[in-house]
């Protein structure tokens, strides 16, 4: 990509990649290929930020709920959010506390851990 900028050309910055010199002056095939490199890279960046967005989003929701449940007055107990949280905890205990299958593969761990791993793997597989 180390080519001289043509006259009247300009550089388009891409986060995490070299600047893109435009307009493309090579043959049509090369230009289409290079354009693809940049488009796909921008998309990759987007997916990694979405991944972090989701992670931070979960953290924010978690912290808010935790603070809300810990710090609130007692009338919050029995409210809608409290009930939902409690039934989620019950469901977790009922379904996800047991040992995960394939202990020789995962070691001795809970289904919860393996389920979280599966979700992460799913995201990464779909988006790569």
């Amino acid at each position: 990509m180390a080519m001289d900028l043509p006259e009247g050309g300009y550089l388009v910055p891409h986060w995490g990649y070299a600047d893109e010199p435009l307009p493309c002056e090579s043959d049509e095939g090369t230009c289409r290929y290079l354009n693809g490199v940049y488009v796909m890279h921008d998309l990759s960046m987007k997916y990694s930020f979405i991944m972090w967005g989701v992670l931070l989003g979960i953290a924010v929701v978690w912290v808010t709920l935790r603070g809300w449940r810990m710090g609130g007055p007692s009338q919050r107990v029995g409210g809608v959010i409290d009930t939902v949280c409690n039934s989620l905890e019950r469901a977790k205990r009922r379904w996800l506390l047991k040992d995960a299958p394939l202990p020789y593969f995962f070691g001795r761990t809970t289904r919860l851990q393996v389920a979280i791993l599966a979700i992460m793997l799913g995201y990464l597989l779909i988006f790569s």
Partner: protein, 512 residues
């Protein structure tokens, strides 16, 4: 954009547009030129995602964990995901490397000249180094390999290797430095917080005395045969921790490169400036064996970092079930004693279940155990169940060390464990026998010792028996446990079927 000729409205194309999925597409070779494929695009996608995953993986590994601060989940629970994220990064690095190798060595002609030329690029060299390092990190963090190389080797190489890997990634693609800086900053925060915590404990202390103070531990061996533990005792001037918390202990006379987590089994005293530490370690392999060789010494230096982990009891004590296997009692015993001390309603159901190999194991913590036994009288809801799994009659050890003077403490359990060891073996034997008989004596209602011979108590039975009494009374239920991982599995399975009305919290203090 991904592939040119396709029906844009087909289901696969819509999915592809949404996910940015890249099909392998090969444009026919032109004479003498490059064969254009989408393999490079895809390899870059995998590489970018692996960079983004790096800071998260570091975050999951930290002991001074930001995640723990935010979520309240103990840092040990992130270890599983840390290991698997590491493996995912390894797979991504491998695919990225293989992808570009195929592109440069096969699709870009004329081979192999283009490939050799490509390898002279600095970023390609750094890429190869990074791939080598992540492979090293992955292989040498496998449990079987650690067993072979030793824990110390793992600990040193894993942190240095990780920092070098992050550096190599930075060199490979410096335009994505943001992820690498974030990773290095997280490592720096974790390490300096650990250092600060250690220094905070060990510098200062008494007014006027400045300098590094170490704990001076008294090392004893208790037990015999296949059932030997090392008990450490020392006093240290510091603030009180909370029951159930653990410290990382480093024994500089053995190695300054190792520190291991141990739960304190002695009770913290918030009103005192000096705290007494008691630890039980099973002498199995590695450093604990070397420590056992120091038995009888009273001045083994200890450097601590901590305390770590959640403190207990976390709720106003209603009902507590504490299940311990072997040295897991260091976690449950202080929690139960503290719960009973804080008890508002004396009728609360509190079950203390301890599974031990041999009756002699009661000698490990005899002063604290005596205190617990005495609490039976004032707490009608307290039950103590001891299960002995390898004996059908209690056997008194003949040899070994010597909780000698502790026999005398029984008269005055308030004093806390005595660290002074001096008695001849025959005296020891007599006092051991007397102490053990006293500990085993079924002199109270709600105190049971079951000698099971060669099997284990079933966890569903333990949980059901507790739940019957606890639900009759109502109130919040707290279940804590620690011990062998197989016991943790059984306990988790038993708890997953429990029905309760007023809330239940379960915590397993994992030792792995």
């Amino acid at each position: 954009m991904t592939t040119p000729e396709h029906d844009p409205h087909s289901a696969s194309n819509i999915l592809r547009r949404f996910t940015g999925y890249i099909w392998l597409y090969i444009e026919p070779t032109k004479p003498g030129g490059k064969t254009r494929t989408t393999l490079g695009w895809w390899s870059n996608r995998v590489g970018v995602l692996s960079y983004a995953l790096t800071p998260f993986t570091v975050l999951l590994a930290s002991r001074e964990s930001i995640l723990t601060m935010l979520t309240g989940i103990p840092y040990q629970h992130f270890n599983f995901l840390h290991r698997w994220c590491g493996r995912i990064i390894f797979a991504q690095a491998a695919l990225h490397t293989i992808g570009w190798t195929v592109v440069e060595a096969y699709y870009y002609g004329p081979a192999p000249d283009v490939y050799y030329l490509f390898l002279t690029n600095m970023y390609a060299v750094f890429g190869c180094v990074a791939t080598f390092l992540i492979t090293f990190l992955t292989i040498f963090s496998m449990k079987r390999v650690i067993r072979w190389t030793g824990y110390e080797f793992f600990k040193i190489t894993h942190s240095i290797g990780a920092i070098l890997y992050i550096g190599a990634c930075w060199g490979h693609w410096d335009k994505l430095w943001c992820w690498m800086v974030a990773s290095l900053v997280l490592i720096a925060i974790d390490q300096s917080a650990r250092l600060f915590k250690t220094c905070y404990l060990h510098f200062g202390g008494k007014k006027g005395s400045i300098g590094f103070r170490r704990g001076m531990a008294d090392v004893q061996i208790i037990g015999e045969g296949d059932d030997v533990i090392v008990r450490l005792d020392f006093d240290f001037e510091q603030e009180a921790w909370e029951p159930g918390q653990h410290f990382y202990l480093c024994f500089p006379s053995l190695s300054i490169w190792q520190s291991h987590p141990f739960t304190v089994s002695s009770m913290p005293d918030p009103s005192s400036k000096v705290q007494h530490h008691t630890y039980l370690l099973r002498a199995r392999k590695g450093q604990t064996v070397h420590l056992a060789a120091l038995a009888g010494q009273t001045d083994v230096p200890v450097i601590m970092t901590g305390p770590y982990g959640p403190g207990w009891p976390q709720h106003t004590t209603d009902n507590v079930l504490a299940v311990a296997g072997g040295t897991g009692v260091t976690f449950t015993l202080p929690i139960v004693i503290q719960s009973l001390r804080q008890l508002i309603v004396p009728q609360a159901t509190v079950d203390f279940v301890w599974v031990i190999r041999r009756a002699q194991d009661l000698l490990w913590l005899n002063a604290e155990f005596v205190e617990l036994k005495q609490m039976l009288a004032s707490n009608p809801g307290l039950r103590i169940n001891i299960f002995v799994t390898r004996e059908d009659t209690p056997h008194i050890p003949f040899c070994c060390n010597r909780p000698g003077k502790q026999a005398q403490q029984n008269a005055d359990p308030e004093k806390g464990p005595n660290t002074n060891i001096s008695s001849t073996s025959s005296q020891t034997e007599t006092s051991n026998r007397a102490t053990l008989q006293e500990l085993l004596a079924i002199d109270q209602e709600r105190f049971h010792v079951e000698l099971l011979g060669s099997h284990h108590p079933t966890m569903p039975m333990v949980v059901t028996s507790f739940m019957e009494r606890a639900s009759k009374r109502g109130g919040f239920i707290q279940i804590v446990g620690s011990g062998p991982e197989s016991m943790g599995s059984d306990l988790r399975t038993a708890i997953s079927t429990v029905e309760e009305k007023d809330g239940l919290d379960f915590y397993w203090d994992s030792r792995e």
